[in-house]
Symmetry: C2
Subunit: 491 residues, 2 copies
Amino acid sequence: MTDKAGSFNFDQQAMRQLGYRVVDLIVDHQTGMRSKPVARRRERAVYDRRFAAPPPRTATDPQAVLSEVAEHVLTGIAHTDHPRFYGYVPGPGNYVSVLGDALAAGFNVFAGHSLVGSSAAAIESITLGWLRDLMGMPSTAGGIFLSGGSMAGLSALHVARTRALGAGVTHDPTLAVYGTTEAHSSLAKALRTLGFGNDQLRLVPIDDSLRMNVQALAEMVRSDRINGLRPLAVIATAGTTSTGTVDPLLDIRRLCDDENLWMHVDGAYGGAARIGTCAKTLLDGLGMADSLVLDPHKWLFQPYEIGCLLVRDARSLKAAFAVEAEYLREAAASASSAADGLAGAINFYDYGPQLTRSFRALTLWMFLKTFGLDHVEQAIDRGIKLAEAAEAHISASSEWQIVTPAQIGILTFRSTIASRRRPQVIKRAVQAGLDEGYALITTTEVRGETVFRLCPIHPDAQFDEVATALNKLAVALGENDENQGNLPTEP
Amino acid sequence: MTDKAGSFNFDQQAMRQLGYRVVDLIVDHQTGMRSKPVARRRERAVYDRRFAAPPPRTATDPQAVLSEVAEHVLTGIAHTDHPRFYGYVPGPGNYVSVLGDALAAGFNVFAGHSLVGSSAAAIESITLGWLRDLMGMPSTAGGIFLSGGSMAGLSALHVARTRALGAGVTHDPTLAVYGTTEAHSSLAKALRTLGFGNDQLRLVPIDDSLRMNVQALAEMVRSDRINGLRPLAVIATAGTTSTGTVDPLLDIRRLCDDENLWMHVDGAYGGAARIGTCAKTLLDGLGMADSLVLDPHKWLFQPYEIGCLLVRDARSLKAAFAVEAEYLREAAASASSAADGLAGAINFYDYGPQLTRSFRALTLWMFLKTFGLDHVEQAIDRGIKLAEAAEAHISASSEWQIVTPAQIGILTFRSTIASRRRPQVIKRAVQAGLDEGYALITTTEVRGETVFRLCPIHPDAQFDEVATALNKLAVALGENDENQGNLPTEP
């Protein structure tokens, strides 16, 4: 006789029905998305009216909970996976990887160490090896899948500092890290979290193309040394979030060699473009990084929460993160110390900030197995070319001016009419787009100017829809323009 | 005419079939688990032989990929969700939350800011509010869901330091953080990552019950101040991973008030027990923490990758993590500044280390809605009582001795026979258990001694199976014991 007092299991047939319904919801969403608005947003008060109550004491029919989720929760989001989501970085995801995520959760696979998750550790290592080779990194390199680019960047900079100071040595306030204003904001946040002061992030001037000025960097490093600072690392970006710009990687590598600096490359956005053919030359030097971040949940079409850190010397990754714990004895005993940074029994809790980890690689592994690399290459090149086509379209129009050209799938532009360049006019036009829901185009700032930004890299994005979205944006700007007498004065 | 060159969509009917198969795999796993071995482990070489090849160039039938996953990947793991997994902390998960995870991935919900994910931000806030109230924290408190306890603890200590130093101020090597040897290893790792030196973690003596000695702590803090250190924070543990011990929370709170120290409570393991009735008194003072970590993927029965950080003053959480980025302007403009730390439009990227975040709260919200709080309370109390029943069973046996009593679901014990206490004999017995696969019992170290540890909190765990597992362990120890002449000499 089995005591079932606390069990959360229920009837197998009911489980199947619920599961099939979830599958149907996802399939309908993914295949019918084009006919939905790209964005829906509601005020918090709307949700509070419906949902703000203490958690229920008693059970609710799971079918009813599912209905609430389908009707009232999943309807209040922007669809970053919509083919007309051109804002930020689209999150198209893909169905096969959703199945992988469901399996990882459904079997609750623990991918922290190779004792409990031997197959998971193996598949994670093999998948990391695929990315390592595709990025042109050497076999000494190892890595880990993390929650995303932010944690991967933080971890990389922790490795750089640990290599310089030793493990468990207190932070040195004279260390200096170099990056440009165009580097991703998560890196400044990561440095703060690591204990760096704001003034330990040294801002390197950029050239006319918004790329890091390596000559200026070299001078800063030398003068910082003279002034008692301890140059540690350079953050190069392979595809900035704002404009898709790639820093001069080979020049930075040379300087890092000369000055014994750690070269960190943030390829969260653009790194994966090395898998395609269009941006290979632009990304020369990517594989020479000491640490490299990729975001498979961006341009490798994975659902969110998979970032990738690759470190040229896997041992330095382990040295930065390994700690001893008495309750992990059994796992530690069999750990790998192979020359190939991804060979043998790897306990991934020793390679990153998390102890408990889910099986993140499963989604990417299933995706690459199912679709094959040729297809991925084609999808990446297609996104790059679509941005180039949009650039040509914008250049040919008297309505628009290009601000920064299409670079690895991102371009920025402005209206040709001066009054339509006021930040508040632009903001209202974006809001009008959000409200209508046909497409989402957001803004960024280039050299102090608020400009429109287009990132049409969803694999189902279509040129004619991009053109339509641009027309709608022009109309919204014009309507704003006419009403501008009513706008409060800009500061 | 639509260009489908790079699309990863495929036939809707095929999608449904694949999805239903995944559902069936998960349902069969979750309902048939008891008849499976609790653990399967294979050497890395086995997986290399099968899977180590470059990623395929061309497509593979997704049904074939799924077969590979089902037959060769998901068969090489220990099932932390198995009712006879008594090691580490079980990860039972639950089916409703798996559906939530699948929906979050399938709709690829971006829960980073309230502009793109207004419903997600609202549900996250509401769910955090549920936990805040259940833990007895005030309404000024806010929080965030993170990848797990490791990141939540790291984030908490970052908040404590930022409150002391100011945002973006370089780390102060005289800061001191206090904890015991029994605190979770992730906290030492977190401090290292934050830039603390090993000697900035001050180890407070423990009493006979392995609890923090608050008198000794008070003396350390005073003498450290005299010696020029700057006491910052105390790490109290509500349910240590090793033995389930709870530090004296009320005494620590009083000292933190007197000495102006940040009180961080690591309730990753035991905090949720406050929801039940058995451990409420033991956990008095939990809600008075300045920061509190819970792991819903432990004792709130969620699949992995959901940790929770609650901070008494939500503003200090935001002060530590908010950064400006030009491409996030639209979202930042509408951010909440309400007195209730969880009210209004919250951009969760301002409250933690990640920018891109998936919809972590969905699983927990659906779970609590579906099963109701009474059921959760019952499940927690049941785990606590089962450990107490196991303690009574062990105490009554001449074979075993209790080392630490059942505390919030964890107990440790040893063999009564001296030769069976040798670490290598114990290790072989654990390995024999792993190989047989009936149940998993692991070890820990208490006061320098390697002992067995039992954590039978899976809601489907059964007393008679625990008893059988203990019998099997005794047999394995006996067999090892007889062979001990062949063992290499212990150092």
